[in-house]
């Protein structure tokens, strides 16, 4: 029985699309043409060496793992195609500064995948109401156009932020000046899911297709 199941698994794996079998879920919007190996780069050495390295680390009592089969996917895998040069309003690495401790604990914004988790079929998988992790206080003296931002923060209405503001700032568009002119919540949520951008298609930095 055991051998029969093993043989069946082997045959299915041999003839079927292995990418689909191995993928833990649908790729995110815009990533349909991206190969697995574009992000999942092969780990250094043979599998045998990788097992060896992990055993050695285990026996030495180290907490870290040696990569097995593929390297862990980090921000650079995203930035290779989504390079915003120096114009990203919220570059992920910025949140590695010690003072963003609370934001790291709540949103982990130092990693692209904290919001853009891959294999979910969604553009943003965490709801998009995370701005309150950092933006809770607004100065009276510092003139901010539009609605009373401090009142919105006090009311915990952080679901309204993306109705006007593009988080990474990669779209050229006219920022709505009042809440009644803002993009609808449905349009924003649809965009975070897999819909068209309410901020328009005029991008400052184009994304690499492959």
């Amino acid at each position: 029985m055991f051998w029969a199941v093993g043989l069946a698994v082997f045959l299915v794996a041999a003839v079927a699309n292995q990418d689909e079998i191995l993928s833990p879920g649908p790729v995110n919007p815009g990533h349909e043409a991206v190969d697995c190996t574009s992000c999942h780069l092969p780990a250094t050495g043979s599998h045998r060496q990788q097992i060896q390295a992990n055993l050695q680390k285990f026996m030495a009592g180290e907490n870290t793992d040696a990569p097995f089969h593929s390297e862990p996917v980090d921000n650079s895998a995203c930035e290779d195609c989504h390079d915003r040069k120096m114009e990203d309003r919220h570059p992920a690495f910025r949140f590695k500064e010690p003072r963003f401790k609370e934001a790291r604990a709540s949103v982990a914004p130092q990693y692209c995948v904290s919001c853009h988790q891959e294999h979910t079929g969604k553009r943003v998988a965490n709801g998009g109401d995370f701005c309150g992790s950092c933006h809770r206080e607004f100065e009276e003296g510092q003139k901010i156009k539009g609605p009373d931002h401090q009142a919105l923060a006090d009311q915990e209405r952080f679901d309204t932020c993306l109705k006007c503001h593009d988080f990474h700032g990669n779209h050229r568009y006219k920022v709505p000046q009042e809440l009644q002119d803002a993009f609808s919540k449905e349009a924003v949520l649809y965009y975070l899911d897999d819909g068209p951008s309410p901020f328009g298609d005029d991008k400052i930095h184009a994304d690499r297709e492959q």
């Binding site: 060496q49 040069k85 120096m86 570059p91 690495f93 500064e97 010690p98 003072r99 003296g141 510092q142």
Partner: protein, 289 residues
């Protein structure tokens, strides 16, 4: 009452121990795996610690990179932005916007260095902050604010460990050495402080590194990455300036003498002339072993 004597698992009718076939198979499999992994093993993977045995502490490495960066920034502020303004050049936060006819302010240039360092993947991080930063997002909070207040008092760097992130961190005073610094920061429409004077600690650069020590080889790699980041940042300004509607001449001259900019090679040669003696001294003094 008769007691029934049970045989233990693995004992035969005579009470002698014998091994179950599954146990024997498991031992043989483990033996084969051990031979496969260890006896006939390929060379082990390098553990990433490329070392000659001589190491330098993270604090000493951070001192070096902070001094190199300081040379770059001071030169850029004093010899490019200051005289450049007198030549009619513009500097602002929006220099990368389409059609902009300006260059990066010193703090904005530093952001370019910071981005490039992150991309270099050498484990070195750079952040700029202040208590009275123009951009609210750059204002210190928590432990960094407390340390910054100590830095303001004695103008000396502070070191600490960011344990959750596994980082060794150094904060260095950002002292107003050039008049354009105090003028622009005092007059900026969004500044929360309007009375800056030369010698003030206007902010601090925060540098982080991912291990307590580095080998001689790794220290050179880190320094190399920083120098490339500095060079590419200045080059990005020169490349942009060449596209201005009225572009300055680019060559070996400086804006104190003409409506011109030094090319990347000229500018960086001057940065290295200033920073190299202290970097070389720190490299020789810093190594242990």
């Amino acid at each position: 009452m008769a007691w029934k004597v049970r045989k233990k698992k693995g004992e035969n009718s005579e009470g002698n121990r014998r091994f179950q076939p599954s146990f024997v198979l498991a031992v043989l499999a483990l033996l084969a795996l051990s031979i496969y992994l260890f006896v006939s093993a390929p060379p082990p993977l390098a553990d990433g610690q490329n070392t000659s045995g001589r190491t330098i502490k993270a604090e000493a490495l951070l001192d070096m990179v902070a001094a190199e960066n300081d040379a770059f920034r001071t030169l850029y502020t004093k010899n490019i932005v200051g005289p450049g303004l007198k030549q009619g050049f513009l500097y602002d936060e929006n220099w990368l916007k389409r059609g902009a006819q300006s260059g990066p302010l010193p703090a904005v240039a530093l952001r370019g260095v910071s981005v490039r360092l992150d991309r270099s993947k050498v484990g070195l991080g750079l952040f700029l902050g202040a208590a009275f930063a123009i951009n609210r997002g750059n204002r210190f909070e928590g432990e960094q604010l407390a340390l910054f207040q100590e830095i303001v008092a004695d103008k000396q760097p502070r070191y600490f460990r960011d344990a959750p992130q596994g980082l060794w961190v150094g904060m260095y005073p950002d002292i107003a050495h050039a008049k354009p610094c105090v003028d622009c920061h005092s007059k900026h429409p969004k500044t929360p402080k309007t009375d800056w004077v030369l010698g003030d600690v206007m902010g601090a650069t925060t540098w982080s590194f991912t291990s307590a020590t580095v080998s001689a080889e790794e220290a050179v790699v880190v320094l190399g990455a920083l120098r490339r980041a500095l060079s590419e940042t200045y080059k990005s300004y020169v490349d942009r300036a060449r596209q201005f509607e009225d572009p300055p001449a680019v060559g070996s001259d400086w804006p104190s003498a003409c409506r011109c900019l030094p090319d990347t090679q000229t500018f960086m040669a001057e940065v290295f002339r200033i920073s190299s003696p202290s970097t070389t001294r720190a490299l020789f003094d810093g190594f242990e072993g």
